[in-house]
């Protein structure tokens, strides 16, 4: 083993090294979410806008970019989950419980990171099966093909898929709960990134915490606007 | 046969003695140093510094402490600062002035050559500590700041807010940790020394108890260093940590080491007053507070009575009804008078019925004028942590209500007798820091304890110990020597006796009883009548202790009652040595004040204005000596040998702070 490999391995093995990787992958996920959100919000710009966007995503870089992004995101996610699970298992093994437990300052969000994280993981699996792999529905069927102005041949009707998806009450409630949990996760995760990367201090603490809440709120409102509009206000449903 | 107390002070002019001595000292070459082993008991400033430095030099060191980590030794509690003759302030300081202040502060009862060496070495201590990363207070220009302390008129005290001892000890602990990691020091925490092993007249090892497992074991070495602190807890209530004890020093004393000047005990003037008999310890408020705080009591006892009953508060007393008694009696030193003088003055005004604490034993330390002058912020920057500490304990805010303070036992100048090499009369047994008697005479000046501990540990002992070791065959005595098994057996028997006593009273109740007696009869003011009474009572308490003490549990595990019992048992013997020394010293000097020996109105010194009535009256003709006591058996009077003190460089004078 050469010196470089050794250094990388000991970084990977150390608690701070793992934390820094969790923070780094967290940043990637934090950046992904607004992008995803903006794409989703195109729903409100009409059927063609979102379908065109979906088509562009699938065709960019001769259809390769979407796979680069998918593999990249998946790797980031796997590392993020693997390391946090490792860290949590370690913490559970070394910590001890009090007969009279008390908490002084830790926020509720911060204390349930692993549970919110695992719930989000379950949601992501479900979400990908639902809308990307499209298992257990007929989103891949001909009913979900449509025309797009300026484009030859049919394209996938993402618009209809989303509207139909959110017309189902069970799906939508799960989605809304998951997004809420995600935002609790983000509110602590956002600020934690700064601390773990050594960019927080007492002076910037409040600013960072507020930015974290603002970010989480934005994501929450943004992602929830679609199911709320569809299920409760009948947006896009005929 | 009397003891052989050769001070081994080198000849020549005082400012060249240490250099000359180092030049003439024996050296051991680096490869041979590895063959020698040294035991260091105690991990405070003196012990920790000695262990680290001896290991750096190449000796194999075993270091022992009763705390769970060497970083917790009680040096950590020193607040105010450390003196050094750096003269960074350009206010006329020098090695000679620090030497003179310390000799005079000690009421001319210390050994000139030792004190001069201390002053010389002080300079290097600050350099050493800064290079270890000790964060001393600094000025905006980036250079070190200083403040002044009691008994001096220059600013030579280096400090780290009110936590100087902590920062110095952490520096020392880090140096020790470095050596532990290098393998040069083997550290034994939660391990208490219970006996000294003497082989053919030489100290060659110790018996210790692992306080967690209860295992008693022997450790042999080529030399033993005791750096086990003072015996202030003989008074039960003191500013010492609860665990501080005299056991190691007293065990050495019982094995032949002479105990010198035990009656020199320092009562610190600024402590939080006692509030009840449940009280377990007293808390010091740093002497540095006297830089800005003004000490006063009401001029009339009726006013004091009203304050005590809560009828009026300090703020209701008008300026003319306040007696700033230190400023009045000692105008040139004022509130910064030396500790013994400030303490005794507090006692006097309280004896007159002018004390302001509910118990009658307390005076005000008032920051009103300093806050008006410098602003609350700058007072807070200087003393913030001390004010907080006071508020936590008393529940009163010292920014608005003056602090209540009263003297309390703080430091002990006496200790095991050592020569210039810091070696006791038992060859091989070296004693450093508060545990020895050497540098402070009858009274220690503020910020000098840290200086002495580190001087002994970093600079003196690592150099002088070679004089002894060079004459020894390394590893010549091992634990297999029969004397070790004999001592082990004695120790086990003693532990067995304590555990099986099965009486009715707790160890603490005996300790409290002894402490109260000693505070009463051998505290701030002593008389032959009181001391004789104490000498009658102590053996009675001791007898009852062995018959009626209850030590629950066994010796085979962590047993805090057993630990305390062992320590109190030694205090019950040591108390007698203390009182014998106080009784035999027919004079008043420094921390030892005999009611029979004070200046009266008719004394010529009072008439010509050199001093005033009620001040301590020294007797240089008969008592300019060190009293070294030799153990002769439990309950029998120890044997006194005197080491005359010769002053070649300073003139003995009345210690006036007027």
């Amino acid at each position: 083993m050469n010196a470089l490999t050794r250094a990388v391995l000991s970084f990977w093995d150390s608690s701070i090294g793992k934390k820094i990787l969790v923070a780094g992958t967290g940043i990637a996920l934090l950046l992904f979410l607004p992008g995803h959100l903006i794409g989703n919000l195109l729903l409100f710009a009409g059927k063609d806008a979102i379908n065109e966007y979906a088509l562009w995503l699938h065709n960019a870089g001769h259809g390769g970019l979407v796979w680069v992004a998918r593999i990249g995101l998946l790797t980031v996610l796997v590392v993020h989950v693997l390391l946090t699970v490792q860290l949590t298992v370690r913490n559970r093994a070394v910590a001890q419980k009090y007969s009279y437990p008390a908490t002084n300052r830790a926020s509720r969000s911060s204390r349930m990171m692993i549970w919110s994280g695992l719930t989000i993981l379950a949601f992501i699996i479900y979400h990908i099966s639902h809308f990307t792999v499209r298992i257990g529905n007929d989103y891949n069927g001909t009913a979900y093909l449509t025309s797009l102005p300026g484009h030859e041949g049919d394209v996938h009707n993402v618009h209809k898929m989303i509207i139909d998806g959110f017309s189902h009450t069970g799906n939508t409630v799960f989605y809304m709960v998951a997004i809420t949990i995600l935002c609790s996760h983000l509110s602590h995760g956002f600020a934690s990134v700064f601390q773990t990367l050594g960019l927080r201090s007492r002076k910037s603490d409040l600013l960072i915490a507020r930015a974290g809440w603002a970010y989480a709120l934005l994501i929450w409102v943004g992602f929830l606007s679609i199911p709320v509009a569809v299920l409760f206000f009948g947006y896009g449903r005929t | 046969m009397s003891l052989n107390l050769q001070s081994a002070v080198p000849s020549g002019p005082i400012d060249q003695k240490w250099t000359k001595h180092k030049m003439e000292s024996r050296l051991i070459n680096p490869t041979n140093k590895r063959k020698y082993s040294v035991i260091v008991v105690g991990s405070g400033l003196a012990g920790g510094a000695a262990a680290a430095t001896l290991s750096e030099l190449g000796y194999g060191v075993k270091c022992f402490c009763y705390q769970d980590s060497p970083r917790r030794a009680h040096s950590i509690a020193a607040q105010g600062g450390i003196n050094a003759a750096k003269n960074y302030q350009n206010d006329g300081d020098s090695v000679s002035r620090l030497f003179y202040d310390t000799i005079k502060g000690g009421d001319f009862r210390s050994r000139e050559a030792n004190v001069h060496r201390l002053a010389e070495v002080s300079v290097g201590i600050i350099d050493q500590c800064v290079s270890q990363g000790v964060p001393f207070a600094r000025e905006y220009g980036g250079l070190l700041d200083n403040r002044s302390f009691g008994g001096t008129q220059v600013k030579r005290t280096f400090y780290a807010r009110g936590q100087t001892g902590q920062q110095l000890l952490l520096g020392c602990y880090q140096a020790l940790s470095k050596e532990i990691s290098n393998g040069g020091v083997q550290m034994f925490s939660r391990t208490e020394m219970l006996d000294l092993v003497v082989v053919d007249g030489h100290a060659k090892g110790i018996i210790v108890r692992n306080m967690v497992t209860g295992e008693v074991s022997a450790h042999a070495a080529d030399a033993v260093v005791l750096a086990t602190g003072g015996y202030g807890n003989v008074f039960y209530l003191s500013t010492n940590a609860k665990g501080c004890n005299v056991m190691a020093a007293f065990r050495a004393h019982k094995r032949g080491a002479a105990f010198a000047n035990p009656c020199y005990t320092q009562i610190h003037p600024t402590c939080i007053p006692v509030s009840g008999d449940y009280q377990s310890k007293l808390t010091l408020m740093s002497e540095s507070l006297r830089n800005d705080g003004r000490i006063w009591v009401p001029t009339r006892s009726e006013l004091a009575e009203k304050i005590r009953s809560g009828e009026i508060s300090a703020g209701d007393i008008s300026e003319e009804d306040r007696d700033y008694y230190l400023e009045r009696k000692y105008p040139s030193f004022g509130n910064l008078s030396p500790r013994d003088i400030a303490s005794r003055s507090a006692k006097e005004v309280c004896d007159e019925g002018r004390g302001i604490a509910p118990t009658g034993l307390g005076v005000f330390l008032d920051f009103r004028d300093a806050i008006d002058r410098d602003g609350r912020d700058s007072i807070s920057a200087r003393y913030g942590n001390l004010f907080e500490m006071y508020e936590k304990i008393k529940g009163e805010n010292p920014y608005s209500t003056p602090m209540q303070i009263f003297p309390a036992v703080h430091y002990t100048m006496g200790g095991l007798w050592v020569d210039y090499n810091l070696m006791s009369n038992l060859p091989g047994l070296h004693v450093a820091g508060e545990a020895n008697f050497s540098d402070h005479g009858a009274n220690r000046l503020g910020a000098s304890a840290l200086m002495q501990g580190l001087a002994d540990g970093y600079f003196v002992l690592p150099s002088t110990i070679a004089n002894y070791l060079a004459e020894q065959e390394p590893g010549s005595v091992t634990e297999s020597h029969p004397e070790f098994s004999r001592c082990l057996e004695e120790t086990n028997t003693r532990i067995g006796n304590l555990v099986s006593a099965n009486g009715k009273r707790s160890v603490d109740s005996f300790h409290r009883e002894l402490g109260l007696l000693i505070w009463d009869k051998c505290g701030m003011a002593r008389s032959s009548e009181g001391l004789e009474y104490a000498l009658k009572r102590i053996p009675e308490i001791r007898e009852e202790f062995w018959e009626n003490v209850r030590v629950p549990g066994s010796g085979a595990q962590l047993n805090q009652e057993l630990e305390k019992a062992g320590r109190v048992a030694d205090f019950l013997e040591f108390g007698e040595v203390l009182c014998h020394d106080a009784l035999s010293r027919e004079e008043s000097c420094g921390g030892h004040f005999r009611l029979e020996h004070q200046f009266g109105e008719d004394d010529p010194e009072v008439i010509d204005g050199r001093t005033q009535a009620g001040e301590a009256k020294r007797n240089d003709e008969d008592f300019c000596h060190v009293s070294a006591w030799e153990h002769t058996g439990v309950g029998t009077k120890p044997k006194l040998t005197r080491e005359p003190l010769v002053f070649e460089n300073v003139k003995l004078s009345i210690r006036s702070y007027k």
């Binding site: 070394v94 | 060497p70 917790r72 290079s131 964060p135 925490s189 009840g276 377990s280 707790s506």
Partner: protein
């Protein structure tokens, strides 16, 4: 004042502990928390029982020996206070008080409320020092240090190594302690040459000693009797990352 104590009793490291109830009667309002325990112990001894063992030494808040978790909070609810500086006037007459040891896997119980914190010493021995030999130091004023830097280093250096941070942490992480110790020295020019080595080695020793990792709850900062800032943790994370990169590339 009268209280009901629920105290953790455990004979030694191998045995199983349990909570036992004791009355604390006629406690003077001026008494400190430990003096209250002294009074209770005095009674237990008088009744022929085995006194409650707890660590304590200086009783003035600086040695870091005292280590009780009081009602679930290491050193109790008063901010910036060690157990020994906590006074009974902060409790109400008749209160029930839960007293447990500083709990953490890396702090095994020795007896009752006494735990073994020697893991901290091992972390310091791994690099929490400046490698300077006695006698080799330049003049103390040879290297000026700005007052701000000196004050900053001091703020980190006031850590008393009590372990409350670990005891309060849901993960038993020692990051506040380790980071305070590292950043005290890393802030000063004297500590600069060993900065990378120190960060890497101390963190490794911390991991090996069996502490958890930091998940930024700041419980440690909330209970620290010396109000050590979690900024130190951020600094150590940064120093560690930089050291790891330099080590990998150098």
């Amino acid at each position: 004042m009268n209280f009901t104590l629920k105290v953790w009793r455990q004979n030694d490291g191998d045995s199983k502990g349990h909570i036992e109830e004791y009355p604390a009667e006629n406690i003077p309002i001026e008494a400190s928390f430990l003096e209250m325990l002294d009074i209770v112990n005095e009674k237990i001894i008088g009744d022929g029982g085995s006194p409650i063992h707890f660590d304590h030494d200086c009783r003035e808040g600086i040695c870091g020996m005292c280590s009780l978790t009081i009602n679930g909070v290491p050193h109790g609810r008063e901010n910036g206070t060690t157990t020994c500086q906590l006074h009974m006037r902060h409790f109400d007459d008749g209160d029930t008080i839960w007293i447990e040891p500083f709990r953490a896997g890396a702090f095994p119980v020795i007896r009752d409320l006494v735990v073994d914190r020697s893991a901290f010493d091992r972390i310091i021995a791994a690099g929490g020092y400046v490698s300077v030999r006695t006698g080799a130091a330049p003049d103390a004023n040879a290297i000026p240090i700005t007052k701000e830097d000196a004050d900053h280093a001091f703020d980190s250096a006031t850590c008393i190594g009590c372990g409350a941070c670990v005891a309060a942490c849901k993960n038993s992480s020692a990051m506040l302690f380790v980071s305070a110790k590292a950043s005290h020295l890393n802030h000063l020019p004297q500590g600069a040459p060993e900065k990378d080595r120190r960060a890497l080695n101390m963190v490794q020793a911390m991991d090996e000693a069996g502490f958890g990792n930091c998940s930024n709850h700041y419980e440690c900062e909330a209970v620290c009797p010396k109000s050590i800032s979690a900024d130190n943790v951020a600094k150590l994370n940064r120093d560690y990352a930089a050291a790891a990169v330099r080590k990998a590339l150098a």
